[in-house]
Symmetry: C3
Subunit: 137 residues, 3 copies
Amino acid sequence: MKSLTEYLWFNTKGHREYVNITDEVEGIVKKSKVQEGMVLVSAMHITAGVYVNDAESGLIQDIDEWLEKLAPFNPDYRHHRTGETNGDAHLKSLLIHHEVILPVTKGKLDLGPWQQVYYAEFDGQRKKRVVVKVFGD
Amino acid sequence: MKSLTEYLWFNTKGHREYVNITDEVEGIVKKSKVQEGMVLVSAMHITAGVYVNDAESGLIQDIDEWLEKLAPFNPDYRHHRTGETNGDAHLKSLLIHHEVILPVTKGKLDLGPWQQVYYAEFDGQRKKRVVVKVFGD
Amino acid sequence: MKSLTEYLWFNTKGHREYVNITDEVEGIVKKSKVQEGMVLVSAMHITAGVYVNDAESGLIQDIDEWLEKLAPFNPDYRHHRTGETNGDAHLKSLLIHHEVILPVTKGKLDLGPWQQVYYAEFDGQRKKRVVVKVFGD
């Protein structure tokens, strides 16, 4: 079994941001020389997520508004008694999820024509990390 | 390491539909001859999902109504400026998720007694695909 | 390829409960002797989930209230015509998801500093199970 582990670093300008990481993930898959296997793409933080969907700017704004509607900023989360103010970012991370696992077939990401991999930052403006781990034959 | 990749095709009659694919996935696992490993079941579209839950028709209707409540059809999504009308289907896909990964133990899907694998179509009446990838020893 | 499959059993006192299982999962990874690979942690029930987030008691209460808001108890779910009363537990399971897959690097769970693995019980006070499957080299 071959495997390769790399880490992507982020430090977004905005508090919330959606970063297309498909090319980076594809590059790591290529570097791994895995032909048949999978790649795990997983945020290493509890206020960020990773998801697969469309690279369409209008939709990305729709997703952001939808997440804010279902997991809104609210000063009153119990979590804020610890001094934090990012309770909503934890809930957004749970809603969108922190990881995806993608198939690798014939040495490439086996995605549908519109599927793109996104890093979703919900509490940015500081250094954060995603682990990308490929394994297979 | 053994691996086997197959694709399931769908063309649902309804706009939204929930299709039990447990037997198809189990059949692919058997064909792969993998004894210990995993199987990834992943929609290749951004307006569909894959989930694990109960094969009970009342519950499936509850799930459908719940998804419509949390990620409703709405003519005003920004995504619709592209000419699309399926913004809600993207959000439903994010909510239910596009993939599951299931354990394979002693050559079989290692599921609990009520766990069934479903393809969730949110924008049907056209050809769509799911990738099923088994790997292990 | 090495693999190891173990099952964790739960019988929570409360109807809903959140149990930190990070140490148990780490122990199974260690026992497997896998150095590079992954571990799947998956609820075997359709009224429970597994997620990764913070071990902070205030946040856990926030998560519980948030799940109840988005997937509330309601006597009127169609699923209840079967005699069940746990429709909300199915929806909460779908929202939080039933499984996570975690990277194993140099023989350890490759998690960020605040990432902890939780079993989320939504219909407890009876015996339930989680499968933990490690595989890799």
